[in-house]
């Protein structure tokens, strides 16, 4: 994250200046997208989440207090919306899976995909593979800490939990991932 981004831009956005807010979006949309994508593992869903997040940021900026880092505050919004999205998608996927089982539906890759989209899709598959089956908090902690490289304290602030809780969830998440990797022979099984 760029620490040199001037506070004045945030302040001007708080006052309702559209131009300042545009700068803010330009600066942070990449970070927000990376986080949302790692959480929802889908390009379109991540874009929706980020768009909705920025709309919320815009709407609630007057309530933002600089006692918290702006990025922490923004990430909290992204995480909450991603979490909501995951919940609805899970519900929808359950329904879709049932329909596909009935209709023998097979997903076909879009032939017009760009190289970046293919890379994103590949990454999404890997993350989905690793994080599948993790409980929600563990998944959030794992994504923020291990995939997004945020500090323990920042992760704790975003999820509004303690640092110790972050560490405990990290232990469980990494241990579960280890078991999964071992089962699929990705890493060597230790006694």
């Amino acid at each position: 994250m760029d620490p040199s981004f001037p506070d004045t831009v945030i302040e001007r956005s708080r006052r309702g200046e559209s131009e300042a807010f545009r700068l803010l979006v330009e600066r942070y949309q990449g970070y927000a997208y990376a986080l949302a994508f790692r959480l929802v593992c889908d390009e379109e869903a991540a874009k929706d989440v980020v768009q909705e997040s920025f709309i919320r940021v815009w709407k609630h900026l007057p309530e933002y207090r600089p006692t918290m880092k702006f990025t922490t505050w923004m990430y909290r919004i992204v995480v909450n919306l991603s979490y909501d999205r995951l919940k609805t998608d899970r519900r929808r996927n359950r329904l879709m899976r049932n329909e596909r089982e009935v209709e023998g539906y097979a997903e076909v890759a879009d032939p017009t995909s760009t190289e970046q989209q293919i890379t994103n899709r590949d990454l999404a598959e890997r993350i989905t593979f690793l994080a599948a089956g993790l409980p929600v908090t563990q998944r959030l902690v794992f994504t923020l800490r291990d995939l997004n490289d945020l500090s323990v304290q920042e992760t704790a602030d975003i999820l509004a939990i303690s640092g110790e809780s972050v560490k405990a969830n990290l232990c469980y998440a990494r241990r579960a991932i280890r078991k999964r990797l071992e089962q699929l022979d990705v890493i060597r099984e230790y006694p």
């Binding site: 330009e26 997208y33 990376a34 390009e43 690793l130 990494r174 280890r178 990797l181 060597r188 006694p191």
Partner: protein, 243 residues
């Protein structure tokens, strides 16, 4: 150090996850426990696999287009507030809302009616009991009076006050006359003057220290006469509730 603890801590392999003194304890333990050391190796492998993922950053395709689309959605705040207001007022005047509001109003009126009826009946019953108990006075049993009380429960309060003689302090008189709702504002004081001159002894009755024979006699004569007069006025004029 317990193996159970060590096997948790080995997963906290990144720099700011395990404080120095714990790290040293863990290292000492791993040096003499092969099983925990194996777990530490596994944790290390997991860390490396995850690090591969971490190095791949998902990239937003068409960032300029995305910024534009966000900016289109984030309308000026003042405008948005107005829209929210319109939405809210729109919802309030929506058909469904009207249906709900009407339904709730009907229920509220029904509840108020039932409460009022039961409260009036209770008031009359309480009034009778109180008068009988404290002053040995029974309400007139003529059908007309009882009917009057049933129809104009506020007059029941009036009757209580008459018998307790509190009616005859200027303030309570004013309250009661006002409560009857039959006089216009400019008539009330004239009526009070009329009562004071027509029933001069009533003002001397005080029930706070109990009723003596003289006070009972005043109530039986002047009090009853005043009641009759008030009742006849209410019968003739009706009350605001009746109107």
């Amino acid at each position: 150090m317990l193996c159970r603890t060590a096997r948790k801590w080995v997963y906290l392999y990144r720099p700011d996850e395990l404080p120095g003194f714990r790290k040293r304890r863990l290292e000492r333990h791993l040096a003499r426990c092969p099983k925990c050391a194996a777990e530490a190796k596994a944790a290390h492998d997991v860390g490396q696999t995850i690090a591969l993922l971490h190095s791949q950053t998902p990239v937003l395709t068409d960032p300029e287009g995305f910024t534009l689309s966000v900016m289109r959605s984030a309308k000026p705040r003042e405008l948005r507030r107005r829209e929210v207001l319109t939405q809210v007022t729109g919802r309030l005047t929506g058909f469904r809302t009207i249906q709900w509001a009407s339904g709730l109003a009907v229920v509220a009126v029904a509840i108020a009616f039932v409460a009022q009826v039961s409260s009036d009946a209770r008031k009359v019953a309480l009034l009778e009991a109180r008068l009988r108990q404290s002053h040995g006075i029974s309400l007139p049993q003529e059908p007309g009076t009882r009917e009057f009380l049933r129809r104009f429960p506020s007059a029941g309060e009036l009757r209580t006050d008459v018998h307790k003689a509190q009616l005859f302090t200027p303030w309570s008189l004013l309250d009661v006359v006002d409560g009857l709702g039959v006089f216009k504002a400019n008539q009330q004081e004239a009526f009070l003057r009329h009562i004071s001159s027509k029933y001069p002894q009533l003002a001397s009755v005080n029930v706070d220290d109990g009723l003596d024979d003289r006070e009972r006699a005043v109530l039986a004569t002047e009090g009853a006469a005043l009641m009759r007069e008030l009742e006849s006025i209410v019968r003739r004029e009706g009350t605001l509730n009746e109107k």
